[in-house]
């Protein structure tokens, strides 16, 4: 879906961002992301290698989850307005896990001639465990500048 148009003046600190979720990750999702990203660390697609590394099975690339989580920011602000996106990886996601992504606005500021919004992000699994925590900075159009 295209991002909803939002003006800086209409956003408040504490506002929640629209949720993004992916239900039941599959091994095919990992393989598709491997091809798309170029991350062919076998720990994410090769069961034999995963077991030899002490894991019960393959698990999602952190950057797959981070890509899904980034959609919270782009859905809120629009891709061209993203200025900064930072994530910290906590728990791993396994086949069958859900990835539920949320965010909220923590601060509004003006800097370098732009009207900015800062916020916090989190991706959790179906058990409520944190997969990723993150922060973002996005610029939003101002009502005063004709929406650009």
């Amino acid at each position: 879906m295209p991002a909803t148009k939002r003006f800086w003046e209409d956003v408040k600190e504490g506002d929640t961002l629209p949720e993004v979720r992916v239900d039941k990750l599959t091994r095919t999702d990992f393989v598709r992301y491997a091809g798309a990203s170029g991350d062919f660390n076998p720990i994410h697609h090769d069961q034999t290698f995963a077991e030899a590394s002490g894991n019960p099975t393959v698990f999602a690339m952190g950057m797959l989850n981070a890509g899904i989580l980034s959609r919270v920011v782009t859905g809120f602000a629009g891709r061209p307005n993203v200025r900064r996106y930072k994530v910290r990886f906590s728990t791993r996601a396994w086949p069958g896990d859900d990835v539920v992504c949320r965010g909220k606005v923590t601060r509004k500021l003006e800097q370098g001639g732009e009207k900015l919004v800062e916020g916090e992000l989190e991706a959790i699994n179906q058990k409520g465990e944190t997969l990723i925590s993150g922060t973002f900075v996005a610029a939003l159009p101002s009502r005063g500048s004709g929406g650009r």
């Binding site: 295209p2 798309a36 990203s37 170029g38 590394s53 890509g67 980034s70 993203v82 990886f89």
Partner: protein, 152 residues
């Protein structure tokens, strides 16, 4: 054993990366994003001056790296975790752009691990410049080598 800080300042070779429309589409599908900005040229031209890559797309630089672009870390692959990742965008990037990526290890440090042993952290920064030489993005990755094979 004290952490070996000699890797700090080590740089990789410059990597030339073509930002391709098909690769953007493939990447957007992999993160299950159906925003027409990544698929529909007409829509993207109107909204953003052209098709843009998703926020985390610059990770695909590894497709363009023959192995010399990443400065080598003294890490064992079976014990490596991706700790943190950050992207900063300074100017728009569009499909068709040709970027040059330069990576550098900017820090190496050690912390005691929660499950015994110590963990080594390495911070790598990559700067992306467009064909005009303008800095368009900066990526910062924190890699962690754990004291033992990773278990949750």
């Amino acid at each position: 054993m004290p952490v070996d800080k000699s890797a700090i300042g080590r740089t990789g070779e410059p990597v030339t990366m073509h930002v391709e429309r098909g690769k953007i589409r493939e990447f957007a599908r992999a993160i299950k994003d159906d925003d027409p900005l990544y698929y529909d040229e007409g829509h993207a031209a109107k909204e953003a001056g052209g098709i843009m890559p998703p926020v985390t797309f610059l990770q695909t630089v590894s497709h363009w790296d023959d192995g010399r672009g990443r400065p080598r870390l003294p890490f064992d692959l079976k014990r490596v975790l991706h700790g943190e990742q950050e992207f900063e965008f300074l100017a728009p990037i569009h499909a068709g752009d040709v970027l040059t990526a330069m990576s550098k290890i900017v820090d190496v440090y050690e912390k005691p691990g929660k499950r015994g042993g110590s963990m080594t952290f390495a911070v790598t920064e990559t700067e992306y410049r467009n064909a005009k030489g303008a800095l368009v993005a900066r990526a910062r990755a924190v890699g962690i080598e754990t004291g033992q094979v990773v278990k949750d």
